[in-house]
């Protein structure tokens, strides 16, 4: 029955299909005049249909929150492994009461520990800053080229995941503390909602960026492009933090000690 319904679709690119008769013409003609943004997809996504993007960001934040709440395990480990870096001898301390004074010669270990390879470490260390610059570029150029907040956020998040894969998880957790990740995820959503709420005291509706004109020194149409840039930055920050949170919680089963 599904195949029968599929055969009844209008042709691709049909100018009389219902999707291109009612509203799309308006968007395609007026988007550049009203918002000064060449990329119409971003204009529709962040300005004309800004509510949907706001709730989408909230959904992504909820996914990260759910992953954190379901998987995070705050128990202390009972047995610990220490490895002497000079000789490679491994100590297995079963009693959790005795604490070994860990100096420079011993390092913490986990049962699944694999030594990280030199080639992988060096190559990833060189390439991660370039990936991050590209991610920032994609976020900032969402108005002019394909891209926007989501894509740039995912690229930035995957650069941090690459750091976790090439080194080990403890290196990533030392660089980005868990509390900061949670704060970033919430701040991203709050930036979006904050920009939307600021428009209200200035005299407009909830997401009406054109009323921000007294705050920013530009003409009323360019202000919409700037408002869009602000919300894309909020979305990018939230998506980055949530990607890293989900990866860290899945790969270590919540314990944040080691994995992959």
């Amino acid at each position: 029955m599904l195949l029968y319904g599929t055969g009844e679709f209008p042709d691709w690119g049909d100018p009389y299909s219902p999707a291109s008769v009612h509203l799309s013409n308006d968007y395609l003609e007026k988007a550049f005049d009203q918002t000064q943004v060449p990329n119409i997809v971003t204009a529709v996504l962040a300005d004309y249909r800004g509510f949907d993007t706001m709730f989408e960001t909230a959904v992504i934040f909820t996914a990260g929150l759910a992953c954190f709440l379901l998987l995070r395990d705050f128990r202390e480990k009972e047995e610990r492994f220490y490895r002497h870096t000079a000789t490679g001898v491994i100590l297995h301390v079963k009693d959790s009461q005795k604490v070994l004074l860990v100096e420079r010669e011993f390092e913490h270990m986990d049962k699944d520990w694999v030594p990280s390879d030199l080639i992988i470490r060096t190559v990833c260390r060189i390439i991660i800053p370039f990936i991050q610059i590209y991610g920032l570029y994609v976020i900032a150029h969402g108005d002019f080229s394909p891209g926007g907040g989501f894509q740039g956020g995912v690229i930035l998040g995957s650069s941090l995941i690459l750091l976790a894969i090439s080194y080990n998880l403890k290196t990533l957790m030392r660089r980005v503390k868990e509390k900061i990740l949670g704060i970033y995820a919430a701040v991203g959503v709050l930036i979006y909602v904050g920009i939307a709420v600021i428009c209200m005291p200035m005299g407009g509706n909830f997401l009406d960026y054109s009323k921000l004109a007294p705050l920013l020194p530009s003409d009323p149409h360019h202000v919409r492009a700037l408002g869009m840039l602000g919300v894309e930055i909020g979305v990018g920050i939230a998506v980055t933090a949530v990607m890293v949170i989900i990866y860290v919680n899945i790969v270590s089963a919540g314990r944040h000690d080691e994995g992959l």
Partner: protein, 81 residues
């Protein structure tokens, strides 16, 4: 919309989807999901929706495959059914 390109890519999509269900090794399934996602990205790029193709490329062939492999790392590698 040169139709042989569409036909070939759609055939690959169906092939990847059926193979991802029937294969017994879960790691191969994760990689097949990545391949499926890449084929969908090609389809959308051919249709002209570049934004959607960009998003699918980053999310599907990047982050989603990593999440699947991480989940398989923590559970078993052979499928239980």
């Amino acid at each position: 919309m040169y139709w042989p390109i569409d036909l070939i890519v759609l055939t690959f999509v169906i092939f990847c989807a059926i193979a991802a269900i029937t294969v017994k090794d879960l790691l191969a399934t994760a990689i097949l999901f990545g391949a499926y996602s890449f084929m969908m990205c090609l389809l959308w790029a051919v249709m002209g929706a570049v934004d959607v193709a960009f998003t699918e490329a980053t999310v599907g062939a990047g982050v989603s495959t990593v999440f699947f492999v991480a989940a398989i790392f923590r559970t078993s590698r052979r499928t239980k059914d």
